[in-house]
């Protein structure tokens, strides 16, 4: 999957699951703030990325993926590793 296509898909599934406007999801935006995630719904975000894109964000890696831009890079790099 091309990166642009991947970004569009990530935005789409996150917006649908967490009920936010796609336009609110920008590369620099904070994931937790934008999606209004607490410690429980953060688990759902990780599970969604894993089930939709086959990429597992391990517990130690979650803290590194703060923005959507970081998430795009993380998923793209893992998929293409």
């Amino acid at each position: 999957m091309e990166k642009n296509e991947l970004i569009e898909k990530i935005n789409e599934v996150l917006a649908e699951e967490f009920e936010v406007e796609v336009s609110a999801i920008t590369p620099d935006a904070d994931i937790k703030d934008t999606l209004e995630l607490d410690s429980l719904s953060l688990v759902d975000m990780v599970a969604l990325i894993e089930s939709e894109f086959g990429v597992k964000i391990k517990g130690t890696e979650v803290s590194q993926v703060k923005t959507f831009g970081a998430l795009y890079d993380f998923v793209y790099d893992k998929q293409n590793a």
């Binding site: 967490f18 009920e19 429980l40 719904s41 599970a47 894993e50 597992k56």
Partner: protein
């Protein structure tokens, strides 16, 4: 001195309707909520009969973070409770500033468990189960969800007493209020409606197989009954002390005169006569009334052979030859199980408030025991001011409530 306990609000989400008016009309007109569900047949069910109701879409009412922890029966319970609170004239401000309790009957939450186990087996990764599963799958799912959504601050626990859960919840709530431990308790019962939750029940041949006539399948007390039909939904009553209701200027609908209970101490699935009789007699004794004051009996009768026979015997033991109408609203709804004790209080309340007794549908021929009772097979117009409602469950748990019009 014990406090008087009154009912000031009711709400229901059932196969007979989503509002009190709809349910009242369904009861009056003898509408059946039972259908044939072809999916169950494909799943290998012996009986594909079930009550039908839709799972409400609460996207507009609740946030994702509230909905994600709710299995279907918690959604039914939310709908019933928001209506009951409105009916009782209670707003969020009142709930925020008073220690309102919550006792709700529920005794299963199957689908979230099935989904979680399927995911763990297939993926071997517990993260993929998601955050909602644990809260959806616990027996106390209804009370934990409602307690958080409505920000309740009194007692908060689930009553699991099999098919008497909803009735015990109301009875226990009444005891707390009588003894001054709570001023108000949100009480009710909820029951999931899906094939997974009752497949094992189907497996012990408990269900009617009159599949060619779904609306005739649930026939409590009828000679040719062949088993129950599963149903569900949720029902909520707001109960509070008489003083609290007066202070609030609340609409007082009825008074809970008493709660009787017993355990059979016998077989796990077959009820006996002694246990239910004891529950009935305890309720009558505690109500301080004469049996002749009871104007209507809402029976537990589920349309099983042994259950209905033994309940008919128990009722006859207590009322003798007095001509008191006895019906089972399960002839219209099927067996609403964990919800039934609460919903049947509401069905009986709607009849009492509107001067009728709904037909015991499909009561075409009595058997030896039901012949001794006055069981109307058609809706009758009748004013009554006191009713008794029975609920019995697996393991031999029995609950009886006596409620008087106000």
């Amino acid at each position: 001195m014990q406090k008087r306990v009154v009912i000031t609000g009711m709400g229901i989400y059932s196969c007979l309707g989503k509002t009190l008016d709809e349910v009242r009309d369904s009861l009056y007109h003898g509408k059946s909520g039972i259908i044939f569900d072809p999916v169950r047949k494909e799943m290998g069910f012996r009986s594909a009969l079930t009550a039908y109701l839709e799972v409400p879409d609460l996207k507009k009412e609740l946030s994702r973070s509230q909905r994600v922890y709710m299995p279907e029966q918690a959604k039914y319970a939310y709908c019933a409770t928001i209506d009951a609170l409105r009916n009782a004239g209670i707003d969020q401000d009142y709930l925020n500033t008073h220690d309102v309790g919550l006792l709700y009957g529920n005794d299963s939450s199957t689908v979230p468990n099935v989904k979680a186990v399927d995911t763990m087996r297939e993926k071997k990764d517990t993260t993929l189960v998601g955050s909602g599963a644990i809260f959806q799958s616990m027996n106390s799912t209804v009370t934990m969800n409602l307690g958080c959504i409505f920000k309740l601050k009194g007692i908060n626990l689930t009553v699991s007493g099999a098919c008497a859960s909803g009735s015990h919840a109301i009875g226990l709530g009444a005891l707390l209020i009588q003894n001054g431990l709570q001023e108000m308790v949100v009480c009710g019962g909820a029951q999931e409606v899906n094939p997974w939750s009752i497949g094992s029940f189907d497996g012990i041949s408990a269900f009617s197989i009159r599949e060619n006539e779904p609306t005739k399948a649930s026939r409590p007390f009828d000679r040719d009954r062949d088993g129950l039909v599963p149903g569900g939904g949720a029902a909520t009553v707001i109960i509070e002390s008489y003083e609290s209701a007066i202070r609030r200027g609340a609409p007082i609908l009825a008074e809970i005169l008493s709660y009787g209970f017993s355990s059979n101490g016998d077989h796990i699935s077959s009820p006996n006569v002694e246990g239910p009789s004891k529950s009935l007699m305890m309720a009558i004794r505690r109500a301080g009334i004469d049996v002749s004051e009871i104007g209507y009996i809402n029976a537990h009768a589920t349309s099983t052979h042994v259950g209905d026979t033994n309940e008919a015997k128990a009722i006859y033991n207590v009322i003798g030859d007095r001509r008191i109408e006895v019906t089972s609203t399960k002839s219209q709804t099927g067996h609403e199980m964990w919800m039934a004790g609460a919903s049947e209080v509401i069905y009986s309340m709607l009849m009492m408030k509107n001067d009728f007794i709904a037909a015991n549908l499909n009561f075409e021929n009595p058997d030896e025991d039901s012949a001794k009772l006055l069981i109307p097979d058609k809706c009758i117009e009748k004013h009554f001011d006191t009713f008794l409602s029975n609920s019995f469950g697996f393991g031999g748990t029995n609950s009886t409530l006596i409620i008087r019009n106000m």
